[in-house]
C-alpha cells in the first residue's frame, strides 16, 4: 500500500480532484477538455511504449522521435498516393518496424553505441521526410470517429474514452496488452531478465539477441501506430517536423512512469491534461498569454518531470550495453 502514496501518485490525485471540481462547475466544457487531453495523450503514451519495450530488454531507443516522424510521414504519403488510409496505416506500421529492425541491427548485431544508433535514426528521419515532403498533398479522409454504443452514454467517461477513432481504441488495447504481457507472461519475464541481467537469461537457454531483435522490431511497429494516429486520425495532415519532439517527451514519460506501461499512460494523460487545460484557458481568454508560452508548456513540463523523478527511479540494469556472449 505504501508504494501508492508517492509524489507521483499525488500528482495524479491532484489532477483527478481538479477535474472533478471543474466538472461540477461546468460539465460540458470539462468533458470536452478532458476528451481532447486523451487524444493528445495517446500518441505520447504509445511513443513511451516504444521506449518501454526497448529498454525493458536492454536497448536504449532515443530514435523514437525519428520513428514517429517517418511513420507519420509514410502514413500520410501513402494514404495520399493511394487514396486509401488503410494502406497508409499499413505503410506506417511497416516503416516503424523497419526502423526498429535497423536499430536492432546497429545495437545488437553491430554492437554500436545505442545513443549514436538512435541519433542516426533521428537524423535519417528528419532528412528523409523533409526531402520527400511535397507541399499541398492531402489525404482523402481521416479515420472516422466511431462511438461505442451504450458506453458512449456514460456521463463524462463516455465522451472521454468511447468517442474516438479506431486507432485510438487499438492504441489503448496495445498499451493494456503490453502491461499484461510484460508482467504476466513468459515473454515478459524473459524480456525483463534480458534487460536486467542478460547473461542470466543466456545461461537459462534464452537467446538474448533474438529476443532483443523481436522486441525492438515490435516496438518500432508500435511507433508506427503512434505515427499513423497522429497523421491519419488526430491531425489529418503532415508538415516538416510534424512530431515536434513527442518522441523525446515520451522518454521522459517512460522514466516518470517507471518503465511501466500503465505508469507511462498515466504520465501521458497528465501531460495531455495540462496541454488541454492551457488551450482552454487561452480560448476562454481567462489568461492573456502569447500562444508561444502554451506551445512550450509540454517541454517545460518534461524538464520539471524529469527533475522530479531523476535519481529516484531505477532503469533496467543492462540497458545500453551490448551483450557479449563470450564474456558471460
Amino acid at each position: 500500500m505504501k508504494e501508492f502514496l508517492t509524489k507521483r501518485n499525488s500528482f495524479i490525485g491532484i489532477i483527478v480532484l481538479a477535474t472533478a471540481f471543474l466538472y461540477s462547475k461546468d460539465g460540458s466544457i470539462t468533458t470536452s477538455v478532458v476528451s481532447t487531453a486523451t487524444a493528445f495523450a495517446l500518441p505520447l503514451a504509445l511513443a513511451a511504449m516504444v521506449g518501454i519495450m526497448c529498454e525493458r530488454t536492454g536497448i536504449v531507443n532515443i530514435g523514437i522521435e525519428g520513428t514517429l516522424l517517418t511513420s507519420a510521414f509514410a502514413a500520410f504519403f501513402v494514404s495520399s498516393l493511394t487514396s486509401n488510409i488503410l494502406l497508409g496505416f499499413a505503410a506506417s506500421v511497416a516503416v516503424g518496424s523497419l526502423l526498429g529492425l535497423l536499430l536492432a541491427v546497429m545495437s545488437v548485431s553491430w554492437k554500436m553505441d545505442q545513443i549514436i544508433a538512435g541519433t542516426i535514426i533521428n537524423i535519417l528521419a528528419t532528412g528523409l521526410t523533409s526531402f520527400l515532403y511535397v507541399q499541398g498533398r492531402t489525404i482523402p479522409s481521416t479515420f472516422p470517429e466511431y462511438d461505442i454504443p451504450k458506453l458512449k452514454d456514460i456521463p463524462f467517461f463516455g465522451p472521454v474514452l468511447f468517442m474516438h477513432g479506431p486507432l485510438f481504441y487499438f492504441g489503448i488495447f496495445v498499451i493494456l496488452s503490453l502491461y499484461v504481457a510484460l508482467f504476466k507472461t513468459t515473454w515478459g519475464l524473459r524480456s525483463r531478465a534480458v534487460g536486467e541481467h542478460p547473461s542470466s537469461a543466456d545461461t537459462a537457454g534464452v537467446s538474448v539477441a533474438r529476443l532483443r531483435y523481436i522486441n525492438v522490431a515490435i516496438a518500432g511497429a508500435i511507433g508506427g501506430l503512434a505515427g499513423a494516429f497522429l497523421s491519419l486520425e488526430l491531425v489529418g495532415s503532415f508538415e516538416r517536423g510534424f512530431t515536434a519532439g513527442k518522441g523525446f517527451t515520451a522518454l521522459a514519460l517512460m522514466i516518470f512512469g517507471r518503465w511501466n506501461p500503465l505508469g507511462a499512460l498515466a504520465a501521458a494523460m497528465f501531460f495531455g491534461m495540462t496541454q488541454a487545460y492551457a488551450n482552454q484557458l487561452m480560448i476562454d481568454q481567462v489568461v492573456q498569454i502569447p500562444t508561444q508560452f502554451i506551445t512550450i508548456l509540454p517541454y517545460i513540463l518534461t524538464i520539471i518531470v524529469l527533475a522530479i523523478s531523476a535519481g529516484k527511479v531505477r532503469a533496467p540494469a543492462a540497458e545500453g550495453q551490448p551483450y557479449e556472449k563470450e564474456n558471460a
Binding site: L189, E196, H197, S200, A204
Partner: protein, 502 residues
C-alpha cells in the same frame, strides 16, 4: 554404460590466448571430477563450452552419447546438464521463484502459472534440503543464500551432470561444508559432477578424480588417493609451492590507523557498520574475519574515503582524515587494494603500464608539471611486470586483457609501489590461483615487515588465520571479538562469524 560427458579434442583460441588446447575428458555417472588450474588455465572456458556458452574452434562434446550442437545452451539444458556459474546468473530485481523458472516457465496458455512455479520451487528446495524463501527478491539476499538459489536453479531439471564453476568462492566455511555434502549426495544418487575450485582441501575432500590444466593444456589426471595438497599445487603451477605462509612474529609499533566509532550506511541506506573501533599498529597485520555482507565492504570504503562516514573518525598517525575524499585519504599514506578490482582497482580500457601508475601518475618521476613522462611509465611497467610475474605479452596491452589473477597482481603491485603507512587490503586473493596467492601473501607480509600497518579484510577464514597477527571478527556490523592469532581457534572464530555466541 556410456559416459555422461565425453569431450574429445576440444580447442578454443581467443585473441592472443589459446584457452583450451586439445582437451579430452570424460565423466561417468556418480563421479566427481575436479578441474584444477591457475587463473587463465582454461577451466572456465572448458565448462562454458560444454554448456554451450562458448563455441569451440575444434572438438566434440557428447552428452549421454549424443553429440551436442556447439553453442546450443537450451539443448544442453534439455540433455540434463545444470551449471552453477562463477558469477551469479541471477536477475537481482526478480524473485527467487522467477529466477529459478526463467527459461522454462510453467504456464497456463500465455501466462506464467505462478502458483505451480512457487510449488515447484518449494518442492525442489525440500528435495535437496536447501532452504530458500521463494518470494524473496534476489538482491535482498545474502550471497550464501543467492548461491543456494543458483544451485537450485541448476538442479531444477533432473540433472544428470552438474557443473560447478567456483561455487565456494563466496561461502562461509559452514556453508562450504554443507555444499560439499550436497555434492557428495548428488554423486551418490548417480549424478556426474564437474567441480572447479581453487581450494585444494575441497578437492581433496570431495573429488574422485582431478584433471589439472595449465596454460590451456590438460596436464594430467590424478586423484586425492594418489596425492596430497602440495602435490596438487605443484601440478597446477608446475613448481613446488609453499602453501603455509612463513612469517616472523610481528613487531608492532605505534598506532598507525585508528578507527573510532565508525558508522556507515550501505547502498540501501541501512546502517551496516554500527560503531566500529579498531586500531592497527605499525608493523602488524590486523585481519578482519567475517561472513561477507556484515559491513566489511562498507567499513573499508568508509576508511578509504569512498563512502560517507555517518559518524566516527578515521585517524592516520593520529591525524583525522577527510570524509568522502579518497584522494586526501590516499595522500595521507593509505593504500587500498579494493575488493572489486574491476570496478575500483583498474581502468579496464587503459594499458597495464598506465594502470600501474594510477596512484602516482601526476608526480615525479612519472610526470613533470603537467606533462607525463611516458618513458618512465613504461620503464616502471616493464620492471613491475617482470618482478610480479604478470602474465601478459606486453605492458602496453589493455588491463581488460588480463586474467583475474593477473589483474589482481597489477593492483597489488601498484598499491605497494609507494612508501605507505597503512595498507587496506580487501579480499586481496579472491579468485586468484595458488601460485599468485602465495606471491600476494608474501607481498603483504613484506609490507608489514617494512613497517606498514596492514588491515586485511577477507571472507577466506584460512587467509585471515594464516596472515594476521591479530584477528578481529566482524558480525552484524560490529566487531564482536579481537583475538591474538596465537590464541585463535578456527571453530571459535567460525561460530562468532556465524553470529553465534561463542
Amino acid at each position: 554404460m556410456s559416459d555422461l560427458l565425453e569431450i574429445t579434442g576440444l580447442t578454443k583460441q581467443f585473441p592472443g590466448v589459446l584457452a583450451n588446447d586439445n582437451i579430452s575428458l570424460s565423466v561417468k555417472s556418480g563421479e566427481v571430477v575436479a578441474l584444477l588450474g591457475e587463473n587463465g588455465a582454461g577451466k572456465s572456458t572448458l565448462v562454458k563450452t560444454v554448456f554451450g556458452l562458448i563455441k569451440p574452434d575444434k572438438g566434440e562434446i557428447k552428452i549421454m552419447g549424443k553429440v551436442m550442437e556447439p553453442g546450443d545452451t537450451a539443448g544442453v539444458i534439455a540433455a540434463g546438464v545444470g551449471m552453477v556459474h562463477q558469477h551469479f546468473q541471477l536477475v537481482p530485481v526478480m524473485s527467487v521463484t522467477e529466477n529459478i523458472i526463467l527459461g522454462d516457465e510453467p504456464r497456463k496458455a500465455f501466462f506464467i502459472d505462478r502458483k505451480s512455479a512457487r510449488q515447484q520451487v518449494i518442492a525442489l528446495s525440500e528435495k535437496y534440503g536447501l532452504e530458500v524463501d521463494p518470494d524473496a527478491i534476489i538482491e535482498d539476499l545474502p550471497v550464501g543464500m543467492q548461491q543456494r538459489v543458483e544451485i537450485l536453479k541448476a538442479l531444477r531439471k533432473d540433472v544428470n551432470l552438474l557443473i560447478l564453476d567456483e561455487p565456494t568462492a563466496v561461502l562461509t566455511p559452514l556453508e562450504i561444508d554443507e555444499l560439499l555434502v550436497v555434492i557428495r549426495n548428488l554423486a551418490k544418487s548417480g549424478v556426474g559432477v564437474v567441480l572447479i575450485t581453487h581450494k585444494l582441501h575441497e578437492v581433496m575432500a570431495v573429488a574422485d578424480r582431478v584433471l589439472v590444466l595449465r596454460g590451456g593444456k590438460a596436464i594430467g589426471f590424478t586423484s586425492p588417493k594418489e596425492t596430497d595438497e602440495a602435490g596438487l599445487a605443484q601440478m597446477m603451477v608446475g613448481r613446488s609451492v609453499v602453501l603455509r605462509v612463513d612469517k616472523t612474529p610481528a613487531n608492532p609499533g605505534k598506532p598507525a590507523l585508528e578507527v573510532k566509532g565508525l558508522q556507515v550506511l550501505d547502498d540501501r541506506k541501512l546502517l551496516s557498520v554500527k560503531g566500529v573501533d579498531l586500531v592497527v599498529h605499525k608493523g602488524e597485520i590486523l585481519g578482519v574475519a567475517g561472513v561477507e555482507g556484515n559491513g566489511q565492504r562498507e567499513m573499508v570504503e568508509a576508511i578509504c574515503g569512498m563512502r560517507h562516514r555517518l559518524a566516527g573518525q578515521v585517524l592516520v598517525d593520529g591525524v583525522a582524515t577527510k570524509d568522502m575524499h579518497p584522494h586526501a585519504v590516499h595522500a595521507s599514506g593509505v593504500s587500498h587494494i579494493p575488493e572489486d578490482r574491476e570496478k575500483h582497482g583498474l581502468v579496464a580500457s587503459y594499458s597495464i603500464a598506465d594502470n600501474l601508475v594510477l596512484n602516482q601518475f601526476d608526480r615525479e618521476p612519472f610526470a613533470k608539471g603537467w606533462v607525463r613522462n611516458i618513458s618512465q611509465v613504461n620503464k616502471n611497467a616493464d620492471a613491475v611486470v617482470e618482478q610480479f610475474d604478470i602474465r601478459t605479452p606486453s605492458a602496453q596491452n589493455l588491463a581488460s586483457s588480463l586474467s583475474g589473477g593477473n589483474k589482481q597482481k597489477v593492483v597489488v603491485a601498484r598499491e605497494l609501489s609507494e612508501d605507505l603507512k597503512v595498507l587496506v587490503a580487501a579480499q586481496p586473493t579472491r579468485g586468484v590461483d595458488v601460485g599468485s596467492i602465495e606471491f600476494i601473501h608474501n607481498q603483504l607480509i613484506a609490507a608489514r615487515d617494512r613497517g606498514a600497518a596492514v588491515l586485511l579484510v577477507s571472507a577466506e577464514l584460512d587467509e585471515v588465520l594464516s596472515l594476521s597477527d591479530r584477528i578481529a571478527v566482524m558480525s552484524g556490523g560490529k566487531i564482536v571479538a579481537i583475538v591474538d592469532s596465537k590464541d585463535a581457534d578456527r571453530n571459535y572464530i567460525g561460530r562468532l562469524m556465524a553470529g553465534m555466541k561463542a
